[in-house]
């Protein structure tokens, strides 16, 4: 019963938060002098209205799914990997360098780029992991610092090392390396399928295998796991590697599937967005993927909304940010003992029942 109540809350709270965020978004739109209903209609049309827009939404959700899974997996092991962006970028840098220089095309070339990207992300994620395990250092600060280093390194690549003549960007990767679209007329590529597959694998691992159970146990109570003889440090390192590799794979898939070159702003903000989506998705891989698609829909839809009604696209950023603000607060609220008492009073139960529950 208690478990059921908890899972009910973990569905209800994010949904209510989304509603509340949209309500505030509507108020902002109204204050800007546009009709909220029309704006929201265009938002919906722009995201899901036609086959093409749905394809764009799925294409935009692909990198977000990867970074959401990255944040989700590390949190499940009790560590805060805020370096998804850096790991994503390192993956794309390595994929870009290999893609432009290896001369391999077709499936072998693509596989090489993807695997190398995942490795690069894993190594970049391992750095904060090692510093946490061996030096007891704060993994959040380290992983964020490494985001800045990765972004600057990408800058070196597209402004100096692999610069495309006068333009500060790298040349496009060869056509033979570009990921193909799955459905004709829709922009999303096999990168989306890879993202979903990774999400399903992570779900299976976390909830259906004993190693996954142990990893979650480490995340739930590190001290107890240590006393139980779980190799806690090994799990922490592994979770950093896997979560970094997922982000790195995302970076290389985004490069091969959608951007084709490194350019200023590549991957910017994806790391923190991933954290937000993982938190709204209650650290569940599949729920996080759904949230990622929702965020992507907000983004594609808001462009149409801006064109049609003049409401700036940044309204969707505000809505997105409000969802996370409300969800986290809401989840804390329903866990408070006072809330339980309040709820019981409403349903007419007496307080004794609460204590025994």
């Amino acid at each position: 019963m208690r478990k059921f109540k908890q899972s009910l809350a973990s569905f209800a709270v994010p949904l209510l938060s989304i509603l509340l965020a949209f309500l505030i978004g509507a108020i902002i739109i109204a204050l800007r002098g546009a009709s909220p209903l029309t704006a929201l209609q265009y938002l919906w049309k722009g995201a899901f209205g036609t086959k093409a827009t749905l394809g764009t939404t799925l294409a935009k959700s692909t990198p977000l799914i990867f970074t959401a899974l990255c944040a989700c997996f590390a949190y499940r092991c009790g560590v805060f990997n805020l370096g998804g962006e850096g790991q994503f970028i390192m993956g794309s840098i390595v994929a870009c360098v290999i893609g432009l220089n290896s001369g391999l095309t077709g499936l072998p070339g693509i596989l090489l780029c993807l695997i190398a990207g995942a490795l690069a992300g894993g190594v970049w994620g391992l750095i904060p992991g090692i510093l946490k395990v061996t030096r007891g250092q704060n993994e959040m600060i380290i992983s964020i610092m490494l985001n800045y280093v990765a972004t600057l390194l990408m800058g070196v690549v597209y402004t100096s090392w692999l610069r495309d003549a006068n333009v500060p960007q790298t040349p496009s990767i060869p056509v033979g390396l570009k990921l193909s679209r799955i459905v004709h007329g829709m922009r999303f590529t096999s990168a989306f399928a890879i993202a979903v597959a990774v999400g399903l694998i992570l779900y299976y691992f976390l909830f259906r295998t004993s190693s996954g159970f142990k990893l979650r146990a480490v995340g739930y109570n590190m001290t107890a796991s240590r006393f139980n003889g779980f190799p806690v440090n090994r799990y922490i390192l592994a979770s950093f590697i896997v979560s970094g590799a997922v982000a790195g794979l995302g970076g290389s898939a985004e490069l091969l599937g959608s951007q084709f070159r490194l350019i200023n702003g590549f991957g910017a903000g994806y790391g923190f967005d991933g954290v937000a989506m993982a938190l709204i998705g209650q650290l569940h891989p599949i729920a996080s993927m759904v949230v990622a698609i929702f965020f992507a829909a907000l983004r594609t839809g808001s462009t149409t909304m801006q064109a049609a009604t003049g409401v700036p696209t940044s309204v969707s950023d505000i809505i997105q940010a409000l969802v996370i603000v409300f969800t986290v607060a809401g989840m804390a609220l329903v866990k408070l003992p006072e809330f339980e008492t309040f709820r019981m009073k409403l349903s007419g139960g007496d307080r004794k029942e609460v204590k025994s529950a």
């Binding site: 964020i144 610092m145 800045y148 800058g155 986290v328």
Partner: protein
């Protein structure tokens, strides 16, 4: 390497250290009451934008700083309510601030200035030299010929050190961060002090952000806080949660920033981004070198529930 180069470098280090110092002191006041706030980056971002905007409209850098502080408080009250009253996880909520506050800042900026790429500029706060003292060679320039915000930052360090070590109220404040239940049994108003800590933290981070636009660069660009909120977290650890330690840590990080800019200008034939990495790499190295001697407030990050026995 001439004397001019060195003295300019030291002067620039001090200037670069000031915004960090405000933000790091913000975190110190927060953590001393057991509130780990990693949302400093977001608070500074919104402070920076609002400070810029108010200065742009009114023409007064002072009003800019003041409104930066106020908006910092306002946004941090969301964090305070969620973490103190609702007992939400402080780290997670800090992240929520880091996502929410910059989104709000960029929204306000776009609504006000439209999507035009033209940069609006403001007049920076002017320096006030202290008569007589400012004429001492080098030291006068370094210590007595700065903007009032620099004097304010150093004054704040002294006040902070005295407050936490020499006053009863400061000791009570620290007790909340060390052992809130014991503090409560002694009649210390734990919840109230935690809220006060969040007000101070919001105000100081907002000021730190507003300093960036009103005293340092005369324009606002997205991402202008550039990780200072997180470097400030490292500065608090590096400074071992003391006012003096944090001052030294911020001067060190300010030095890295100043050095980085000078090396870029000197042009060694390396891509400039390698020099820009210096402050971030230095932060990683410093944190790895000092290791984790646990010196912070013992109840940091833990929610406090009055009902629990």
């Amino acid at each position: 390497m001439s004397w001019d180069f060195v003295s300019n470098l030291i002067l620039a280090s001090v200037r670069m250290a000031v915004p960090l110092l405000f933000i790091a002191l913000a975190e110190l006041y927060s953590e001393r009451a057991g509130m780990v706030n990693i949302g400093l980056e977001g608070l500074a971002a919104i402070g920076s934008l609002v400070g810029f905007l108010v200065c742009f409209i009114t023409g007064s850098a002072w009003l800019g700083i003041l409104s930066g502080a106020l908006v910092g408080i306002a946004v941090n009250m969301i964090y305070a309510f969620a973490t103190i009253t609702l007992c939400a996880n402080q780290i997670v909520y800090g992240m929520a601030l880091n996502i929410f506050a910059p989104a709000l800042a960029s929204f306000i900026y776009r609504v006000y200035f439209g999507t035009g790429s033209e940069l609006s500029q403001i007049t920076l706060m002017s320096g006030i030299g202290i008569p007589g003292l400012k004429n001492i060679p080098f030291l006068g320039e370094l210590l007595f010929n700065q903007t009032p915000m620099v004097y304010f930052a150093y004054l704040l360090v002294i006040v902070t050190v005295l407050y936490f070590n020499k006053t009863r109220s400061g000791l009570n404040y620290k007790a909340v961060g060390e052992h809130p239940k014991a503090a409560a049994t002694l009649g210390i108003p734990v919840i109230r002090i935690k809220y006060i800590a969040c007000i101070l933290c919001g105000a100081l981070s907002g000021i730190g952000g507003a300093y960036l636009t009103t005293c340092y660069a005369n324009t606002y660009t997205e991402g202008n806080v550039a990780g200072r909120g997180f470097i400030a977290l490292a500065a608090v650890i590096f400074g071992r949660w003391t006012g003096g330690g944090i001052l030294l840590a911020c001067l060190f990080f300010g030095f890295c920033d100043a050095l980085q800019i000078r090396l870029q200008v000197a042009n060694f034939g390396l891509p400039y981004q390698f020099f820009q990495m210096i402050p971030y790499v230095a932060t990683v190295l410093v944190l790895s070198l000092i290791g984790a001697k646990k010196a912070g407030p013992r109840a940091g990050g833990q929610p406090y529930r009055r009902e629990e026995r």
